[in-house]
Amino acid sequence: MTTASRPKGRTRINWAPYLLILPSLIYLVLFFGWPMIQGLILAIREESALLTLRSDAEQNSPIAGQLPRGMQVGILETQGNPIPPGEPAQGNLLTEVWFRVRGQDTAGQTIEGWSPERRIRVRESDADGTPTAGTVRSILASSADPLTRIYTEAGENSEVVGQMEARTAVEILDQATLEVWFLIRGENGNQTIEGWVPSRYINTLGDETQGRIEQGDTSQFTTRYIQRMVNDRFFWPALRTTLLLIVLIIPAQFVLAIIMALVIQAELKGSGIFLYIFAIALGISDLAVGIVWYSIFTQLGYLNSILEGLGLIDVPITYLSADTRYWILIAVWLAEMWRATALVMVIVIAGMQAISREVLEAAEVFGATLWQRIRYIILPLLRPSLQVALILRTILAFQVFAVVIVLSGGDIITVLSNETYRQYYELQNSNVAAAYAVFILLLSMITSFFYLRAVRTQEEVAG
């Protein structure tokens, strides 16, 4: 980078470069850093796993304890509470309606206040169906308070204005919808916890004394998704196949790529055409490549056509079936060799261009054979390029996806990225899918680190 060695502004900070890189920094943080963290969170954090119990039927009252999702609880009492503004309606939300009424209390005075709908019988409504007048219900149960309390605000937590006798005529001035809260009791470990929770988190199972915690309001760290990933019956086969493919593909690919690069670098007449042909595959999608090789390996495909044309077989062989997994592996291997070698080749050629021509010519003049030139000059000087190519190629190999889907139908042999896709798309489980994604990331990081380490140790030994 000779052009970069031109410092601008030696004494004060030059802000221009920072302004220039700012947009890309922001973009990468937004669409790279942040989703990465989200992915990690998805994989190890279970949302709404715990439900917080309050000591009173109010959002801000002290916490009585927490119970896990899915637990059976007893419902002891119910009470209506205002829904906090801006909260979306949720699954099991139970509501009750309260009316603002005006009427005479037990002392004969006219009072105004709120009372639940269950204590008021609506007698008159206006044209829209809004209730306008009614009477206080009589309470039949002997244990219940025969008088109906009137509150200053909707909700039993507010102060009582007064009490009304049954059958008192009231005007209905206003109404409000409240969420029902339950006083629940459940056992966490050996400890019994009792407290108030909004009904939206509870499935009452049709009766008013029993319920199940459907959903919590706090998240917690969990290894559940990772366990589910590891215990999935496709996990180990997918990991095995992915690693096997990497071991099979990468060494062969590097040999082929170096040969291709040597052909290009020999600068024969027409090496431009060679370069174009060799590089074509760089621009072909893995899906298209999968289809190309499917046309060769399918039962009525080109491979069988050729073999039959040569008289080697009489009936078409089935390659891509569950009984012939090794053939699928071979097909995937060939397809990946065909598709991704170009990438390695380009990096290797770029590295070779940096090797000085004089060194190679000198070696040739002094009679070094091609193999000696490769072994003692080209390969050592190519090491940085090869290292980068190795890292890039391995990380890409961890993501091999469409080729495998096309050639195996997606389940005869499977790879990690295919499982990520299956968990997300077919099983609709984005948490386990995120666990797979994080796992692929970890593997990529470990291998990159290993490559960097391995090459450095070699250099240290050599130096």
Partner: protein, 296 residues
């Protein structure tokens, strides 16, 4: 390589032994050249024959596609029937439109965002430059799958799931690191002296950039944009995860693969390959700019 040997033989008074060595060297060189050609042609065949196969399948009649043994193109009837059948299948034309929209947005957005950063990397030395460069390299070598899943969840919550625009945002993130590195190498190939000269003659830095640098880097920027287009056009994993109704072409083909006939599959494979066949030809000289950068 020959020239060095030739010069030697002219300068030195040649003895028969030297002549013999010279002849041997010459012979070895021509054998080497012939061998190199042979290897080059073999590898070319390895690349081209599968392409010939899929092309034959796509450009013939569906009846020919289903026949066995399969033939290749000059020997089987040429027909647009299979391609027409594919292009008229459900979801293909909308998918094609979506693919083009996503790719065009991706290449515009990534070029717009990456060009300033590439310029900064090539022209300025600033504190944090190496860190920025290294993190770009690290991001470049990052598995994309990890991003699709959380982005899908985030997009779903934000209500922009299943849209070509949000997919383009994702593809831009994917293409950005490479684009920055490529553009920085493209800018580096233009000597700073040109800009300086323009400024000496009274241009402002912006004018110098606009009238001197920009015309020179346009081909490089175009090559990088084409590469971004191909990248987005080919991308299938994120496209399948992030869209449901508005699928791009590869996503549509992948999802319907199991229920589709062979003519459909082969025509689809060929169709998706066309941009690669055309564009790689135009940008082949820039490929080393693109990938060579990374190893520096």
């Amino acid at each position: 390589m020959t020239s060095a040997v030739d010069m030697q033989s002219k300068v030195v008074q040649v003895s028969p032994e030297v002549k013999a060595i010279h002849r041997r060297l010459k012979r070895r060189q021509s054998i080497n050249r012939a061998l190199t050609y042979l290897v080059g042609i073999l590898i070319s065949l390895w690349v081209l024959i599968p392409i010939l196969f899929i092309t034959s399948m796509a450009l013939t009649t569906p009846a020919e596609v289903r026949s066995y043994p399969k033939g290749i193109l000059p020997f089987i009837p040429l027909s647009t029937e299979t391609m027409e059948f594919f292009l008229n299948s459900r979801g293909i034309l909308p998918g094609l439109r979506n693919s083009v929209i996503v790719a065009v947005i991706t290449l515009s957005l990534s070029t717009l965002i990456a060009a300033p950063a590439g310029y900064a990397l090539s022209r300025f030395i600033f504190r944090g430059r190496d860190v920025f460069r290294l993190s770009i390299l690290a991001v470049r070598a990052f598995p994309i799958v990890i991003l699709s899943i959380p982005l899908a969840v985030v997009f779903l919550r934000a209500g922009i799931y299943d849209s070509v625009y949000s997919l383009a945002l994702m593809h831009t993130a994917l293409a950005l690191p490479t684009t920055i590195l490529v553009l920085s190498s493209v800018f580096s190939s233009i000597p700073y002296e040109l800009e300086e000269a323009a400024m000496v003659f009274g241009c402002s830095p912006l004018q110098a950039f606009r009238y001197v640098v920009l015309p020179l880097v346009m081909p490089g920027i175009a090559a990088s944009a084409i590469f971004t287009f191909v990248l987005s056009w080919n991308e299938v994993f994120a496209a399948t995860i992030l869209t449901i109704q508005n699928r791009t072409l590869p996503a549509q083909v992948l999802v319907t693969l199991n229920q589709s006939s062979e003519p459909y599959q082969f025509a689809g494979g060929f169709f998706m390959m066309i941009p690669a066949l055309i564009f790689i030809y135009f940008i082949r000289r820039y490929l080393f700019n693109m990938w060579g950068q990374i190893s520096k």
